[in-house]
Symmetry: C2
Subunit: 338 residues, 2 copies
């Protein structure tokens, strides 16, 4: 399926779910970019859970998004419980407009929902010459270091640096060592997991995937990753005026309730720092220094963050992208209503 | 020794090294705050290496710092190879001034040197009501994931969130799992190290502290920490116009050469987001949710980032701080010249 076909089908599916045309286009763009980067879990497959919550009234089909100019460089965005990618796209655009004008722009969003992967926002920003730092809070899955109850989310955090004429550097990561999906996969295969991935219910590191799934994900770098996850929630949740920590409602446990997630978007206009030739020359040199590192395994050269995703992206844009038959069925069913 | 005494002695020592009074005060403030937070390695003990480089001409005693307004919200600071804390303090102040005016401010510094710990800058910003994201590049000690040659630094990264009337949250971390000092300590004690701390010279994880010291520090979370370290260098080094990656000169190998380090300071004025009562109430609630987490070990309650450092800080401010006799000797020797 070509990008254009997937974009059109996904947008139509969201229109079939009662979402306005422009909002459906924005949602489709973020999710389709997720698929193009090869992150099917954060791609159009989300139509299933987003659709379920739209149908239940857990997400507002037609939000009245309000933007407050709390300072010349800061937009506070109230998402009115709209789809995350709708609120996210609006916040990104507000932050870019301020950064274009002043060099730096910040958008703080509240009243939002799951907004897809972060890489699509960083990529859209990089296309316009903006460096970005973007984060979101999320449902609690991580216990604080030394604790045995989930009190903070696997706060995703992303960064993008534009590279005029070349591949931007994009880092999009959650702050757990691995996603729960990897632990579920180990359980299915009947394999033990490294004791650095998760703890059991009592907060003790475990190699048993079953105990791990009943317990908590471990953050990267121990207390450092715990600290980072908490900082993301402070910027995305606490400073934005959204919910934070355990105040964030669980999507799976209470799909009809508003989550009140928060996001932050910090954008920097690199055009203020030098010409595109200047930036391109530095980005080429930066990448070359890393690529030229002697490899531990000569068959596996050193890569930059986002490089594998951007290679997939380029291939998918040329050759089209595969979507699971089941997901296509859902998209087509909703699209038929439009 | 009281804070005031240590501040006065350290400032006099830097004046003895030929640094101007105001610059000596700024340098002393950043280093003394490092000691008050309990990070003696990033405190006044740095007078030794800073002094050596000032004497060799590797650092400029009397820099002409230039500030360019590249955009209303962005200051580009050329440190003219001055002491890191002098350049850092100036950049912090420029970023705060812009954030006070526009809500957000960015300062990008180049031509700088080691600027002490990051926590002091985050603390100074938090005192004025600013949230902060601050980073610096540094001499290469980390091999990229899959590589077997150091190509990037242990890029320190810090965050601060003010808490009116209470303790701010401050996270100041390097992106390696541990500092080299912990590996040296294991070697001294004849102990093995976990294989997650470092690799040998060939880039293979090792439990032998000797092989680790000849090899490379491992970043937190594998490729995630590698990615973060690289992002810090992109913002602090590449975008600022400073050196980056292997272009950064090694202080220990070439103490007479300018390092051309870069830093970035992103400041957000929280007064634009709500009243201090609003912020204080949310910060109290946020901390309470984490403190109330049932602890894995009942004797070790859950803490917030920076909490232990801020407790030490309060105690040291009241009771004074201990400084190593050897370091005191160096301070007094330089101060005698002033």
């Amino acid at each position: 399926m070509t990008e254009a076909e997937l974009q059109a089908l996904t947008a139509r599916a969201f229109q079939g779910l009662g979402v306005r045309a422009r909002d459906a286009e924005d949602t489709a763009r973020i999710l389709v970019l997720g698929d193009l980067f090869g992150h099917a879990t954060h791609g159009v497959s989300r139509v299933e859970s987003y659709g379920e919550r739209l149908e239940l009234g857990g997400i507002n089909r037609a939000p009245l998004i309000r933007v407050e100019d709390v300072a010349p460089a800061i937009a506070r965005v109230d998402g009115d419980n709209g789809l995350g990618p709708v609120v996210g796209t609006r916040a990104l655009n507000e932050a870019m407009a301020r950064a274009r004008h002043l060099g730096v722009g910040l958008a703080l969003a509240r009243g939002s929902n799951h907004f897809g992967a972060i890489a699509p926002y960083c990529w859209l920003a990089a296309q316009e010459g903006f460096a970005s730092i973007i984060g979101s809070n999320s449902t609690t899955t991580i216990a604080p270091t030394g604790g045995r109850e989930a009190r903070l989310g696997n706060s995703p955090l992303g960064f993008g640096i534009p590279h005029p004429g070349g591949r931007p550097v994009i880092l999009d990561m959650a702050l757990s060592v691995v996603a729960r999906a990897r632990i579920r996969a180990a359980l299915t295969r009947g394999e033990a997991i490294p004791d650095t991935w998760a703890t059991d219910r009592e907060g003790r590191p475990t190699t048993d995937p079953k105990a791990a799934l009943e317990g908590f994900l471990l953050p990267i770098g121990g207390y450092k990753g715990y600290g980072l996850a908490l900082i993301v929630d402070l910027f995305a949740g606490l400073l934005s005026g959204a919910s934070y920590l355990t105040h964030v409602k669980s999507w799976s446990e209470d799909p009809g309730a508003a989550q009140d997630l928060g996001h932050f978007f910090i954008l920097i206009d690199t055009a203020r720092l030098g010409s595109s030739e200047w930036l391109a020359q530095r980005m080429v040199d930066f990448a070359a220094i890393l690529h030229d590192t002697p490899a531990t395994d000569p068959g596996k050269p050193v890569r930059l963050p986002g490089e594998i995703e951007l290679e997939r992206f380029e291939r998918h844009r040329q050759e089209g992208v595969q979507v699971e038959t089941r997901v296509l069925g859902i998209l087509e069913r909703y699209a038929a209503r439009a």
